[in-house]
């Protein structure tokens, strides 16, 4: 197809490289250097979307980040779909596939527009709060209709084939925006050797200069841009980031840059390339040279395709060689707006009229227009546009000097394009991300950055300084300021200059009056994407939504994907007028990150899938895998859960593992238990303060179980600690609790008892822990060591250093199963060797590997708790029946002692941990089941506790459970009931926690 709006020459496109692309199923051609929007306009496509509420046809309005309408679905395949891509920011590539996001059957003929046309009158702001309430039962139906109508593009349904990554950056100066101000600032800073990052959202540097016809020192502005960029590229410490949007400004000068590395090349990143990258930048100083966005004027039917902002018209002509129409009417409140008509005229198309809202404009551009013989109509405005899918004409009328009312007759002019300029709004988004409130500037007729505590400088358009000369010199100044703050030498930058142009004051005007009052006039759009009209804002104000935040929330103004870049100031002006206030009195506008939307994938980088969270493996992990282990996630660890044989169910497997251990010998990889090495003259004293029980008399070579509580007296971890020397202890913690416990020890030592001579070090990963347990464990171990393992020489709760399987080991005779048991600790890299040796020698004893589940069953048979499973932060040691582990005779008031003496902790009838035996022995009470005393009580029932641990014990031939019951320790033998979701009520008897070997004889043999 022909590109009917493409000029034969000019622009920064490469006419020798045509690119094919698809829009709504049809194939079109554009050129290298186009954006999707410029290519769409070149091909004469008017309608690029349907509006959100009224389904009105919409066309391209802008040429950059502020575009509200041209929001398209991209992607040639399911996996590469991207919703809501702004066509003005998407570079064209060959094969690009795009679609409008709304419209049924298609965007040109949308059935929903009839709903909009007929029902639109019934959809004032917040109409949904006022209806869909009756009958109540229909709300679900109403809501599903609302949901279907909402949304723009769609999510892909297949996983993203691309990768993303992140880079941490540090620099002296981060310059945001590579227009004239940003380039000048970057050059100034770079010349003194500062580390500079220059980032710009566009594909090439230059900003407004890329579409400007002004000359710098008599040469095209882009030739200065080229020399500046070339110089910067030659500096060693300068990082240039085009296609990189600084999307967030966070505290302490931390900024994020969203760089699109391949979006301009193809749908899917080429092999070996990362699609997008997030730069996380810590900048010593930041120069914001973000420029300004032009404001459209608000007038009736200003959303008909063909209505654009004036600067976008110039950009399409000058940068892309595209004239987006044939007959232009320009409406402006300022001199700069004339540029669009001048460019249009120079492109040999018809300028129907320039409608200036000012009474008597005389500036340089005005004179240029007059010199070209253009029809300049002053003191007037375009009060209404005709047309539906494309502008067909406009109504022009004279207005009063204040711009409040129409004063004369209405003239109709034929036109297909209406450009409007209501002045410029500085792009202050980033400066307000850190909480700095923007300040209204009457001279700028816009908000400028407010006071900030960040190390931030601003230059150019963001300050309301729009001429090239001002922007350049502000850029240099910002660069010099940054250098001074950084104590770097100042440098000299000789700037080119543009011809001075007399520019007259612009008129402060936002909404164009109509013959009819706003409420009755044809719709005057303020926020295109969310379909917010001036009349809607008036309704909101009338109803009492007076704060600008209320207005925004009630009307949804600024809540689109463009976040109100075009509309917010106009909306504030309309609200201010309705409330008879000034704009600053109405409020301010706070922007939040992101400046423009950021791909989830870029926020995530590589930290997903396999790399979502590190996996920790023990030294024997490979063996577990090879032997069919199922794994359990505990903290970051992968722990062997159980080791099923082919065809074996989980319960059959557990039964086998449990019996094998009690009958002969089993082995557990316990390496994941936290291990903290504690040394120092006061180590023993420290342990006494941090544990609830006594440590003063623990002899060298002995181990002891300890409970650790918070200052509130509630149990938070437990484990065995061994005395390796008078000044040397080894503490073990729960697998998940290890880091927390270490920090807890450090906290008390460093902040409370710094006078104690004690040091802590984590040694979890340094040791492999191989626990053999069962009556034959001594026999097995004796095969691998010469050490005297007799009960006399190596008794229960002893630790000895010896050699096992030829490697040095620390062996602890401690038991979590109640069996004769040895925890063999060897240097981690010997773990596998010893493990395999044990199996070599263990065959004769039917050595059986068991995992955490069997460990849980075996310890529950003995009534040993698991902190975090049988405790939950609301139980103290006495609740657990572990008063034996609390030593109130210690001289120092240990951590938790006073806490467990609080009134509520001493209360009778607290929930206490007990054993539970079901009346039907084979029935296992589901863990978590809540207990009641009266199974016939109607709901809500009085709950008296719950099951914390519950298993079938193959050794005992019946189920066992642990659980808390109110006053449970004094209710032995009583019955409690566990009502289940399926209607069953499981009956159980309260009993001792110790189900097996109550005298503890098995572990002492």
């Amino acid at each position: 197809m022909s590109q009917k709006n493409r000029l034969g020459t000019g622009g920064r496109i490469d006419r020798t490289t045509p690119l094919k692309f698809q829009y709504n199923g049809k194939t079109y051609t554009g050129f290298q250097g186009d954006t999707l929007a410029s290519a769409i306009l070149a091909n004469g496509i008017d309608v690029v979307g349907r509006s959100f509420k009224y389904s009105r046809p919409r066309g391209v309005v802008a040429a950059g980040a502020e575009e509200p309408n041209a929001v398209l679905q991209l992607g040639a395949t399911e996996e590469t779909q991207v919703p809501n891509v702004r066509a003005t920011q998407q570079e064209l590539f060959d094969g690009l596939t795009s679609q409008a996001v709304n419209g049924w059957p298609n965007v040109d003929n949308d059935m929903m527009s009839w709903v909009g046309k007929l029902g639109g009158k019934m959809m004032p702001p917040g109409f949904y709060y006022k209806t869909f309430m009756y009958p109540k039962s229909l709300w679900d139906t109403y809501e599903s209709m609302i949901r279907k109508a909402a949304g723009l593009g769609r999510s892909p349904l297949e996983n993203d084939p691309d990768t993303y990554d992140k880079v941490n950056q540090h620099c002296d100066v981060l310059v945001v925006g590579a227009g004239p101000a940003g380039l000048a600032a970057a050059l100034t800073a770079a010349r003194s050797g500062a580390r500079v990052i220059l980032a710009d959202e566009q594909s090439e540097f230059g900003g407004s200069l890329l579409s400007s016809k002004e000359l710098l020192d008599g040469k095209p502005a882009t030739s200065w841009v080229k020399s500046a960029v070339d110089e910067l590229a030659g500096c060693a410490d300068v990082l240039l980031l085009p296609r990189a949007t600084v999307n967030g400004y966070h505290d302490h000068n931390f900024l994020t840059i969203h760089e699109r590395l391949t979006d301009h090349l193809a749908d899917k990143a080429p092999v070996g390339m990362v699609r997008q990258r997030l730069h996380r930048v810590r900048a010593k100083w930041v120069v914001l040279a973000t420029g300004a966005h032009e404001r459209p004027l608000v007038f009736s039917n200003n959303d008909v395709p063909g209505c654009m902002i004036a600067s976008a018209v110039s950009t399409y002509i000058n940068r892309y060689g595209v004239v987006p129409g044939s007959e232009l009417v320009l409406m402006t409140t300022n001199d700069y707006g004339y540029q669009a008509a001048l460019d249009w005229h120079d492109a040999q198309r018809k300028v129907v009229a320039i409608v200036d809202t000012r009474q008597n404009p005389q500036g340089a551009r005005v004179e240029q227009a007059r010199k070209r013989g253009l029809n300049v109509i002053t003191g007037s405005a375009v009060i209404e546009v005709q047309g539906s899918k494309r502008v067909s004409g406009v109504s022009v009328a004279t207005i009063d000097a204040a711009g409040n009312k129409v004063t004369g007759a209405v003239n109709r002019l034929n036109a297909d394009t209406v450009a409007s300029s209501g002045g410029w709004s500085p792009v202050i988004h980033l400066s307000s991300h850190t909480g700095s409130r923007p300040v209204w500037d009457d001279k700028v007729v816009g908000f400028v950055p407010g006071p900030t505590v960040q190390k931030q400088l601003t230059a150019g358009g963001i300050n309301g300084k729009y001429s090239i000369n001002e922007a350049l010199s502000e850029g240099v100044l910002a660069g010099l300021n940054a250098l001074a703050k950084l104590d770097l030498p100042a440098t000299e930058v000789v700037l080119p200059s543009a011809a001075d142009m007399v520019e007259e004051a612009s008129m402060t005007l936002f909404q164009i009056p109509h013959l009819l009052p706003t409420s009755k006039a044809p719709k005057q759009f303020v926020d295109y994407q969310t379909d917010v009209t001036a009349a809607g804002i008036e309704v909101a104000c009338r109803e009492g939504f007076e704060s600008i935040e209320h207005v925004k929330r009630y009307t949804a103004m600024g809540f689109g994907t463009d976040q109100g870049k075009l509309g917010n100031i106009n909306g504030m002006a309309v609200a201010a007028k309705a409330l008879n206030k000034t704009i600053p009195e109405t409020g301010t506008t706070i922007f939040r990150p992101n400046y423009t939307p950021v791909t989830f994938g870029a926020m995530v980088g590589r930290d997903c899938g396999e790399l979502f969270d590190p996996k920790r493996y023990t030294a024997m992990h490979k063996w577990h895998v090879e032997h069919g282990a199922k794994f359990e996630d505990v903290g970051q660890w992968k722990r062997g859960w159980y080791y099923p044989k082919p065809g074996e169910s989980m319960q059959e497997c557990l039964d086998r593992e449990c019996k094998a251990t009690r009958d002969s010998v089993g082995i557990l990889d316990a390496s994941t238990l936290g291990k903290i090495d504690i040394q120092g003259a006061d180590a023993r004293e420290f342990l006494g303060r941090i544990y609830t029980n006594a440590w003063a008399k623990l002899a060298v070579g002995k181990c002891r179980y300890g409970l650790m509580c918070g200052e509130d007296g509630m149990v938070f971890d437990d484990g065995v600690t061994s005395c390796l020397g008078d000044n040397h202890f080894l503490m073990t913690t729960t697998t998940g609790g290890a880091p927390r416990v270490l920090e807890w020890l450090e906290l008390w030592h460093q902040t409370e008892w710094p006078e104690l001579d004690v040091y802590f070090n984590t040694v979890t990963d340094h040791w492999s822990t191989l626990t053999i347990s069962g009556p034959n464990s001594r026999k097995l171990l004796s095969e691998l060591t010469d050490f005297d393992l007799s009960n006399e020489n190596f008794s229960f709760m002893d630790v000895h250093q010896c050699t096992v399987a030829g490697v040095p080991a620390r062996v602890f005779r401690i038991s979590f199963t109640g069996e004769l048991s040895y925890e063999i600790n060897v240097q981690a890299n010997y773990g596998m060797h010893v493990w395999e040796k044990l199996f070599e020698h263990g065959k004769q004893f039917n050595l059986t590997p068991y995992g955490t589940e069997t460990m849980h069953v075996l310890r529950a048979e003995k009534g040993f708790i698991i902190a975090g499973q049988d405790t939950d932060g609301s139980v103290h040691p006495h609740d657990l029946g572990m008063s034996w582990c609390v030593s109130d005779q210690k001289p120092f008031s240990y951590v938790g002692k006073r806490g467990m003496a609080r009134q509520d902790c001493m209360r009778e009838n607290r929930k206490q941990l007990v054993g539970l035996k079901t009346k039907e022995p084979k029935v296992v009470i589901p863990e978590g089941s809540q207990a009641v005393f009266d199974p016939n009580e109607p709901i809500p029932m009085t709950m008296v506790g719950h099951i914390t641990s519950s298993y079938y014990s193959a050794n005992l031939g019946h189920s066992i459970a642990m659980g808390v019951i109110k006053g449970g320790l004094s209710r032995m033998g009583e019955t409690v009931y566990y009502p289940q979701a399926d209607g069953r009520v499981i009956e159980a008897e309260i009993c001792s926690l110790v189900f097996l070997d109550p005298k503890g004889e098995r572990q002492n043999v």
Binding site: N168, E711, Q750
Partner: protein
């Protein structure tokens, strides 16, 4: 994200290496047994939570594992001062230094 000077490492590091541990300078009663429930409850749970200058405890968790104190504005998030455990802040609310340090 904060940029925090660790007084033990002598360097600025990213907030990701640190954990905030709440209000600083909470003194554990010397004789807990002498505290009534109210006093102990306040020691356990009641906090200053100021809007403005706050003295707080931090740990360089993924670094030197050492604790230190920070005076920070809880509205602007400016870090006014870093000082070691056992030291007292020089920037305090109402102190002239507060505004310009």
């Amino acid at each position: 994200m904060f940029y925090i000077y660790c007084p033990h490492c002598g360097e600025h590091r990213e907030e990701e290496e640190f954990h905030a541990k709440g209000q600083a300078h909470i003194v554990r009663p010397i004789d807990p047994a002498a505290c009534d429930d109210k006093a102990w409850g306040e020691y356990l749970f009641f906090r200053k939570n100021p809007r403005g200058l706050h003295h707080e405890l931090w740990i360089h968790a993924a670094g030197c594992r050492k604790f230190f104190n920070m005076t920070r504005d809880t509205v602007t998030y400016e870090i006014k001062e870093i000082y070691k455990i056992g030291e007292q802040p020089s920037v305090v609310a109402g102190n002239k230094l507060a505004g310009n340090k």
